[in-house]
């Protein structure tokens, strides 16, 4: 990047400037992280610590939030609890100390699994369709190419609630409402536009000469696509897939309007985790933490391609 000659160039900021800029940015980064760190800390607090005033930074870690997230409990009389055998597992023990017994598993795990199935299903579909179309748009003369590309992008821009009204009616008619398949198709259609635009950018960067050389060697166009272009585009495909995954994972508007039980994903479920007398904040925080950790990991993996992703592949570096 900066060669030895430009290292002392007049445009390079001075050491003081750098240190000043650095400290301001770090300050912002720390402030911006506080809400996230706070919610993750809350996940390990006991309900009393979570709602104490002033807010507690130091506390005795507890897994009660996670227990409450994964189980449903019912209140019992102390006599009844004493009549039961020894507590089964840690969560039962915590529940009994609050005069409750574990009644069964909560809905969090099924909702989380729904999220996984729907996110991965729609990602695979969107990336597969997107790769094919992106190659088509990148390499062939397609009539009305610009209009088609704009049409594809504009579908992503539509307000979700505006789309949800007819989708609701349509799914009700064909029996797709509250099914995973319906949600997968819906998320695929939203993600495919991003996939086409992003992947077109990546494929545009692969020199045509590679395929042409392969075709001189006797490959058909399709073989050249599979054996030459796809391996070259692996990074782009992976980055696109992560973007699609994150979108489908995070989506709320369609999920809350079009699903109620069977196919409900985690985002509409987490806010309705309630304990006795209001929201059970440690449980909500625990659910939030488990839900956000994969995104944090993916963001770190994706950091080099974030810019492309948020500008539909237009800005590269």
């Amino acid at each position: 990047m900066t060669s030895a000659t430009t290292a002392h160039s007049v445009v390079e900021p001075s050491a003081t400037t750098r240190r000043f800029a650095g400290s301001l940015v770090i300050l912002y980064a720390i402030i911006t992280m506080i809400p996230l760190v706070w919610i993750m800390l809350t996940a390990f607090k006991s309900p009393d610590d979570a709602i104490s005033y002033p807010p507690k930074v130091m506390f005795k870690p507890s897994l009660e939030g996670f227990c409450n997230l994964f189980t449903t409990r019912s209140r019992q009389t102390p006599e009844f609890i004493r009549s039961l055998g020894p507590p089964q597992g840690m969560c039962d023990e915590i529940a009994r100390s609050r005069n409750m017994v574990v009644a069964g598993p909560s809905n969090y795990v099924p909702r989380f699994i729904n999220s996984l199935i729907i996110a991965f299903g729609s990602t695979v579909l969107a990336v597969a369709l997107g790769t094919l179309s992106a190659y088509g748009f990148s390499r062939f003369r397609v009539p009305l190419k610009d209009d088609l590309l704009f049409f594809i992008l504009s579908t992503r821009m539509m307000p979700p609630i505006a789309v949800a009204i007819p989708i609701y009616l349509m799914y009700r008619t064909v029996g797709l409402s509250d099914t995973r398949l319906g949600m997968i198709l819906l998320y695929t259609s939203v993600n495919v536009s991003l996939a086409v635009w992003l992947l077109k950018g990546f494929i545009d960067e692969i020199p045509r000469e590679y395929e042409e050389a392969a075709m001189i060697d006797g490959y058909t166009r399709f073989q050249a696509f599979v054996k030459v272009v796809l391996p070259q585009a692996t990074t782009g495909i992976a980055a696109t897939a992560i973007f699609c995954l994150i979108f489908a994972w995070n989506e709320y508007a369609f999920a809350v309007l079009l699903t109620s039980g069977n196919a409900q994903t985690a985002p509409p479920f987490i806010p309705i985790i309630i304990g006795e007398g209001g929201q059970d904040w440690p449980a909500v925080a625990a659910g939030t933490t488990l839900f956000l950790v994969p995104i944090v990991v993916f963001t770190v993996l994706l950091r080099k391609h974030l810019l492309r992703g948020i500008t539909f592949g237009a800005v590269r570096k």
């Binding site: 940015v25 996230l36 062939f140 307000p159 009204i165 166009r221 995104i295 993916f298 948020i310």
Partner: protein, 319 residues
């Protein structure tokens, strides 16, 4: 044009070499392949986006109600459009949206550009800190909205505690989400927290696209840093800033998930942005025809802005 004729020439040579392959090539000409590759995507979008859109347009001219599907549908013409576009309540919702859009975009642009400017100074470890700053924008807006309601709790919330700590007011003396004057700002704060990194990232790309030699020339001309900022940095980063502003504007114009979880439009209708009004009409009052008309109005607005956005995108692309 050129690449096509070139490739067909290559194909021709391949045909000469292997007659067995020739049949397959003839079966799958480039044109066929192009359509084969593109049609599945187009079909999916037609089925899940365009067909529903056309249906919405049809419904917006009728009295259809999704919860009373058996009532015969009556054609109403543009009645719903007329009533929405003269309704002071909907107009008020648009102004709530305007407040939200203008302030979030303003704050995010100022903060985002400032951060990008500082990060562009390439201090030690700027890569790691940039990644940390970017985290909020990748999170689920719904989950973010939900956990901010916890931070905004009047007595126990961290936000109120911090504000109380610095201003000396009692932490329970104000309610960010329950107060008519504060709640419009509560949603602005969360959105700014979440999306400033987005503007920052695009501005950073803009700043990095400015070649060094322009600054070097300015130094030769003895232009002050202040002057350089106003006549080089800002104008050259402007297309990128515009891109970020337009996209955030569109996104926040149709904002639903975060606001729905933070305030649900309340208290009263002080934070009822357009999408929440639409949701209430469509999925709570079940006035399907009416809400379809409103959806079309919002859609046309977004579609018009999307045209401008793509234009801005192409301008940035040519850089």
């Amino acid at each position: 044009m050129n690449e096509l004729s070139a490739s067909s020439r290559i194909t021709y040579r391949a045909v000469m070499v292997r007659p067995g392959v020739a049949r397959r090539i003839r079966g799958l000409s480039d044109k066929t392949l192009a359509w084969l590759f593109i049609t599945p995507t187009i079909l999916l979008l037609l089925a899940i986006n365009i067909f529903p859109l056309l249906w919405t347009i049809y419904l917006s001219f009728t009295n259809y109600r999704a919860n009373r599907a058996n009532v015969p549908t009556i054609w109403l013409g543009a009645d719903w459009y007329r009533s929405i576009l003269t309704d002071p309540d909907i107009w008020a919702a648009m102004q709530v949206t305007a407040h939200f859009v203008i302030w979030t975009v303003l704050i995010e642009t100022v903060l985002g550009f400032g951060l990008a400017y500082l990060i562009d100074k390439k201090f030690r470890g700027h890569g790691m800190w940039t990644t940390i700053i970017l985290l909020p924008m990748m999170l689920s807006p719904a989950v973010v909205g939900n956990f901010w309601t916890f931070l905004y709790q009047p007595q126990i919330g961290l936000f109120n505690y911090v504000v109380a700590f610095f201003t000396g007011r009692a932490a329970s003396s104000f309610q960010m989400l329950g107060d008519v004057t504060l709640s419009p700002w509560a949603i602005v704060i969360v959105d700014a927290w979440m999306w400033t990194p987005y503007v920052m990232l695009i501005c950073l790309a803009g700043l990095r696209s400015i070649p060094d030699y322009i600054y070097e020339a300015a130094e030769v001309d003895r232009a002050t840093k202040w002057r350089q900022f106003w006549s080089i940095t800002l104008p050259m980063a402007l297309p990128f800033i515009m891109l970020a502003v337009l996209f955030r504007g569109i996104e926040n114009f149709k904002m639903f998930d975060m606001v729905n979880l933070l305030t649900g439009g309340g208290p009263g209708s002080t934070t009822e942005v357009a999408s929440i009004t639409l949701k209430r009409a469509a999925f709570e009052s079940w006035r399907t025809g009416y809400s379809s008309a409103f959806a079309i109005i919002l859609f046309v607005t977004v579609f018009g802005l999307a045209n401008i956005y793509v234009k801005a995108l192409n301008r940035v692309k040519s850089r």
